[in-house]
């Protein structure tokens, strides 16, 4: 870093078009040996496309890649790997049915007379693991280890042999704090050995902790390259979004109190499993946040309120009348809708088109004998795509191709098409980038403004505070308190939900 060395990797004029739409337009990018570099941008900014071009997964349509002074053109990941460009993908892409050693060495196993030398393989794998300071048995099956350990094995695979550029795509999304610390220790070690590391993450804190340099992309174009220590966070966010900080703010609305409150939904003594005696009430135009640690019962409460799970005890009243939403179908008929925290497995049906995903619940509610005409479906889907700003706007493409943020909007559109009275959103902003997050938060705000009653759940307490008018505080399956958001600060909130139970 001292006297600027020559970049190890240089990309110039990179352009990729999907059909006519450019995903990447004339982007320049460079990486230096012994530096951790971050690529920042919203979903759809072109980060993945740029990475795929560098790693050979999908070569650029135009543009050159120079590695160590030589122009290279990788047609497949295997070619890039041989040249020393290694990638660890977001979803762990190893083989749980094989041993740790095989996962590290597969494809370049040590052989003697064409026969795999298992002894040497285990020794080499053990050496790689030891170098990273990871102490696991190389002969054990990969599937017998925790996800975090598998992640480290993936890195071990990537750095074994000659590695010049290491690409890590969202490596921390499934790790806890200690595990992230361990990963960073390994990354610093590799950096000091002269490896150029490309680190992609949605977490700004992590980017600022580990990265020396950051390149920002927006809408497939290069915004600029900066040294992390010279770039303020707020400026970084602004460059990513192309908007100023003020625009990102969400107007806060006071909690509705006293006689003005007409409670739409009331729940008393909801109990199921670990969750005990939860009381809740929700008024029109209100955003009720649920804050609590993982395992505090956030999701359980949401699922009971919307009929996904049947409570063991307790009652729910909707506009004064007792209801028993024993199934999602009944709940939807009552106007109670739920968006799951597991967007991929319990939300988006990725093979179906955006149109089908948006209209499917409404159609299900109408029943098969009152089939919506295709033109009506198209109108409906197009209007929601327009209203929620879903990108790209093609309603006939499979929903699985959309970015996380846009998939979330499609899910919201599906629920909104049902014209519900209550929407329960469980972690609607998880795993989506900051720009999309703000859009979803705004949308929630707008819905409440228009009289919808919303329950908003998020692991990010700051977000809960910003979006909600009132906040339910849960701890270990019990309701601690429900308070107006303006009377809470991040610190008091944290202290309340994290406090050990000391009432005894």
């Amino acid at each position: 870093m001292s006297s600027q060395p020559a970049p190890i990797l240089q990309v110039q004029g990179a352009t990729v078009r999907f059909q006519a739409e450019p995903a990447l337009e004339d982007v320049a990018f460079r990486m230096f040996p012994g530096e951790v570099h971050s690529l920042m941008g919203e979903n759809g900014a072109g980060k993945s496309t740029l990475i795929k071009g560098i790693t050979g997964a999908r070569p650029f349509d135009q543009g050159t890649v120079t590695l160590d002074g030589e122009v290279v053109a990788f047609a497949t990941p295997a070619e890039a790997q041989r040249a020393g460009i290694r990638t660890v993908y977001q979803e762990i892409d190893l083989l749980p049915n094989l041993t740790v050693a095989e996962n590290i060495m597969l494809g370049r196993e040590p052989r003697r007379r064409g026969v795999i030398d298992w002894g040497a393989m285990h020794r080499e794998a053990a050496a790689v693991l030891a170098e990273l300071g990871v102490r696991i048995d190389p002969s054990s099956l990969l599937g017998s280890h925790a996800v975090a350990v598998q992640q480290l094995v993936a890195i071990a695979r990537a750095v074994s042999g000659e590695v010049r550029v290491l690409v890590l795509d969202e490596p921390t999304s499934s790790l806890d704090t200690d595990e992230v610390g361990e990963l960073f220790r390994i990354l610093r070690d590799l950096r000091d050995r002269g490896v150029a590391i490309l680190f992609i993450s949605h977490f700004l804190d992590q980017v600022y902790e580990i990265c020396d340099r950051v390149t920002v992309l927006r809408n497939g174009r290069l915004v600029g390259e900066y040294l992390t220590r010279e770039l303020l966070r707020i400026d970084l966010v602004q460059k990513m979004l192309g908007r100023s900080g003020d625009e990102l703010a969400i107007p806060s609305r006071p909690a509705i109190t006293g006689d003005a409150r007409g409670a739409v939904l009331r729940a008393g003594g909801l109990t199921r499993g670990r969750v005990h005696g939860i009381d809740a009430d929700l008024a029109e135009g209100e955003v009720l946040g649920i804050a609590g640690l993982l395992g505090s019962g956030r999701t359980e409460v949401a699922r009971m309120l919307t009929g996904i799970d049947r409570p063991d005890a307790g009652r729910i009243t909707l506009e004064g009348a007792a209801v028993a939403p024993g199934s999602p179908r009944r709940a939807i008929a009552l106007g109670l809708t739920y968006s799951s925290e597991n967007r991929r497995t319990e939300g988006i049906i990725s093979e179906l088109t955006v149109r089908e995903n948006i209209t499917i619940s409404l159609q299900a509610q109408r029943g098969i004998f009152r089939r919506m005409r295709l033109t009506r479906q198209r109108e409906l889907a197009a209007s929601w795509v327009d209203a929620l700003g879903i990108r790209p706007t093609a309603i006939e493409q499979p929903a699985g191709l959309l970015s996380g943020g846009n998939q979330q909007k499609v899910l919201l559109a599906r629920l909104l098409a049902l014209a519900p009275r209550v929407m329960v959103l469980d972690e609607p902003t998880r795993g989506i980038d900051i720009g999309a997050k703000v859009e979803v938060q705004r949308l929630v705000d707008e819905l409440a403004e228009n009289g919808m009653a919303v329950v908003f759940i998020s692991a990010e307490l700051e977000e809960v505070l910003r979006v909600s008018t009132r906040v339910m505080l849960l701890r270990d399956g019990r309701l601690v308190d429900t308070l107006p958001a303006e009377r809470l600060t991040l610190e008091t909130l944290l202290a309340t939900i994290a406090k050990a139970d000391d009432r005894a």
């Binding site: 990941p77 597969l106 102490r135």
Partner: protein
């Protein structure tokens, strides 16, 4: 983060843990072995004269063709595929071989032709699966109908085989050990195929790539492994084994009949699954498939000892298969939970 206990001196507890973390995939194999031993013991206790050198020797002799088919099938199932064509390919290569021998073509020419024919039918299935994205079930089903039809094209009637060389494979009884232990050249071929299959899977890149594809095809591709070539080759191996089984089965029956081997593909799959290979791919062993074949053969022999209907073989195999599939689901479910 660290499994430190693994690296320290093993006590009994850690030794078991270590075995499980390293060799979990062998558990179904040992389960199959246990069942075989229990069946041997049970049959011996019931009949008194079951475990004789003659019976055990015939077990290999009578099931040599099935053993060869099971080795090829193991390769395909390990990749997560299936090959329904093997029974029909065995019949077709057998018919064509027999007719060529009848027309006076010498055996040293006929046998390679049969092997190449089997391998190319396998290649055809592989190409359909790999390049045309056809489900292995459908691709091999199509090959099954094609091969069966071709077998009938050769002749509608049985063709006797008089070639001394081919018959020698079956009729020669080599004394394998003192007493009435014997082994035929067909049995030796089958054992060699098992050994070759086991070595290839354990000690070659091709073999390990087969496991990798079965574990996760997408991951194997991202790791830069030769997925396309390996998958094609797996079907070629299965086809080649079917061709070889055609030779062995022709020697076994001394004739070829176009209806030979109907349902054999299902017996083969049953033997492979009983031997502990996961139908979803990625886990299993050729040695397990061998045990599976022996389990199948033992049931058949025991039922003929009883003098009962052979349909009981099918019923018993059905029951065992069900048991094993359930056991496999439990194992998979347990490993998912981690």
């Amino acid at each position: 983060m660290t499994d430190q206990s693994m690296l320290e001196r093993p006590t009994l507890g850690t030794a078991i843990q270590r075995f499980l973390s390293r060799r979990a995939s062998w558990v179904p194999f040992f389960a199959a072995l246990l069942i075989l031993v229990l069946m041997f013991a049970g049959a011996q206790a019931y009949f008194g004269n079951f475990l004789t050198p003659r019976v055990i020797s015939s077990l290999l002799l009578d099931n040599a063709y099935l053993l060869i088919l099971a080795v090829g099938m193991t390769f395909v199932i390990l990749t997560g595929g299936i090959d329904l064509s093997v029974g029909a390919v065995m019949a077709f290569t057998g018919m064509l071989g027999a007719s060529m021998l009848r027309d006076g073509v010498p055996a040293p020419v006929v046998v390679p032709v049969m092997l190449v024919l089997g391998a190319s039918m396998g290649l055809g299935v592989g190409v359909l699966v790999q390049y045309f994205d056809v489900q292995p079930f459908i691709a091999s089903l199509a090959a099954m109908f094609a091969a069966r039809g071709l077998a009938f094209m050769v002749s509608l009637a049985s063709i006797r085989v008089d070639d001394a060389g081919i018959l020698w494979l079956q009729s020669t009884r080599i004394q394998a050990a003192p007493g009435s232990w014997f082994i035929t050249p067909t049995g030796i071929i089958a054992i060699l195929v098992v050994v070759a299959g086991a070595l290839v899977l354990a000690y070659t890149r091709f073999g390990r790539t087969i496991y990798a594809i079965g574990g996760n095809e997408q991951s194997a591709r991202l790791m830069g492994l030769p997925v396309v070539r390996t998958k094609l080759l797996a079907y070629v191996v299965s086809g080649l084994c079917a061709g070889l089984a055609g030779v062995v089965f022709t020697a076994y029956t001394g004739a070829s009949y176009p209806l030979n081997g109907i349902g054999t593909e299902l017996d083969t799959i049953a033997a492979v699954v009983i031997g502990g290979t996961l139908l979803t791919g990625g886990s299993g062993f050729v040695l397990g498939s061998m045990i599976g074949v022996f389990v199948y053969g033992t049931i058949k022999t025991a039922i003929s000892f009883l003098g009962a209907e052979q349909s009981w073989t099918r019923i018993t195999i059905g029951g065992l298969l069900l048991l094993f599939v359930v056991v496999q689901r439990l194992i998979v479910a347990r490993s998912r939970r981690r």
